[in-house]
Point group: C2
Chain length 291, copies 2
Amino acid sequence: MAGKRVAVVGLGLIGGSIAMALQGFEDCQVVGVVRSQRTYDFAVAHHVADQVTTDAAQAVREADVVWLCLPPQAILDFLSAHRDHFKPGGLVTDVCGVKTAILEGARCLPETVDFIGCHPMAGKEVSGVEHAERTLFRGAHFILTPTPENRPEHVALLERMAAYMGFRDVVRATAEEHDAIIAYTSQVMHVMAVAVCDDPDLFACKGFEGGSFRDCTRVAALDVPLWTELFSLNAPALSRVIRTLEENLRNYREVIESGDRAALAEKLRYSSQRKRQMNFSGPPRGDRPEE
Amino acid sequence: MAGKRVAVVGLGLIGGSIAMALQGFEDCQVVGVVRSQRTYDFAVAHHVADQVTTDAAQAVREADVVWLCLPPQAILDFLSAHRDHFKPGGLVTDVCGVKTAILEGARCLPETVDFIGCHPMAGKEVSGVEHAERTLFRGAHFILTPTPENRPEHVALLERMAAYMGFRDVVRATAEEHDAIIAYTSQVMHVMAVAVCDDPDLFACKGFEGGSFRDCTRVAALDVPLWTELFSLNAPALSRVIRTLEENLRNYREVIESGDRAALAEKLRYSSQRKRQMNFSGPPRGDRPEE
């Protein structure tokens, strides 16, 4: 079908970047759906989408593909408020960093609407359409959590869209796998960053920070409402990963306190070798991708 | 005094970079002191220093300034082996990431030799002269730990050298202050990075990692003998910081487990605000500086 209409609901950092990056894809028309006048004006002035509207119901009625680019709870609310507005036969997807809760919420949709969860592993420490970039996704992973009920042509369509937007690859997982792993690779990195900033010495350390400190704490300046929801919606998995990290830190502390240098060296050899084995072939440090 | 001789003992990543960055400073001759033939050949071929020698005793005898760029224990051993070879009236400094133990070791020097501890807050995840760079120190902090016994002209000389090598600023601290703060801003970042890599899910997470994961674990591929010494020589301070981090992580875990979203949001607001207050004006992410 030529001339598909793609609605991007929510033109924030991620939605705005998706709307920009999707323009020109397979003859699609990209319609941005916004609420505030400020975002509307900015999006129109900067051609963030081919069209911009504040009429969400109308936009999703006409859209063959709907991208929900809102915070988690807002996605759940939108699904339930607009459940009867989505186009029969159409595809609905989202960009939320947790997937089980979203797939659960999407069960309210009629059977004629196909919902597939996504997670573009990219971001920045700032939010809002003014920070959106067409190239935000270059080199990043695009995670898809399809189920056996999803239509294969919709999965294939999302894969083509991901490639067009510049993602490095498409990774498939179940929603449960996704949430367990993301607790480790993304959420606990953010918990660590804020936990480090709780140290009473934070403000005394100016002038003594190097690259590792800047890198680790970079994500601590996070979007509080968003991450409150993400952490809360994935609490059991996240709690397990934090507990494992606490134990691994305690093990390091104990061997350091023991004064047994050979044991410390052996432990460091083990961990650093694991890191080298990972041998991430990702984009170099300093590049874009961020969850 | 024109035509000072500066000996850089140990042409590894840091020593090699210092030797390169100091060339041309105030009419100095930079002499690199190495042990292995491989390093000698590389240093000569790439003009890492104005001269390269394997005769450490002779080099320090003739040097007005000696930079000890060896691992911590090797610095202590060098100080004690060469205590009577240093030039009377000369300056000896080092680049070790812990300072109390080094200043303690430097007490073996004759009173005519002035020892001032330094810590260039820069580095990479790789070691060896082949990774040395003239520009390694651009934008990084240079920490000085002088004592009241040091000669002011030597402190001033090190400050000029730091500026010439491209450091962003010179920060002064006592050795004890340095070690306490560095346990937080550098050492615990490395402990976290290796502790994260101990998670059993490490190899399952391929395809799910974003920038925060790459940034946090980057330094996990560390130089094992070096960091074994650094952690061991600063064990009490490092142990305290790890314990604080364990507590801060547990506090986050408990509020996440409690299901109290308002309390979690309040906690995230507190920590992220602290991070924003830090407002590091350091070089942008992706730049050089690393401890």
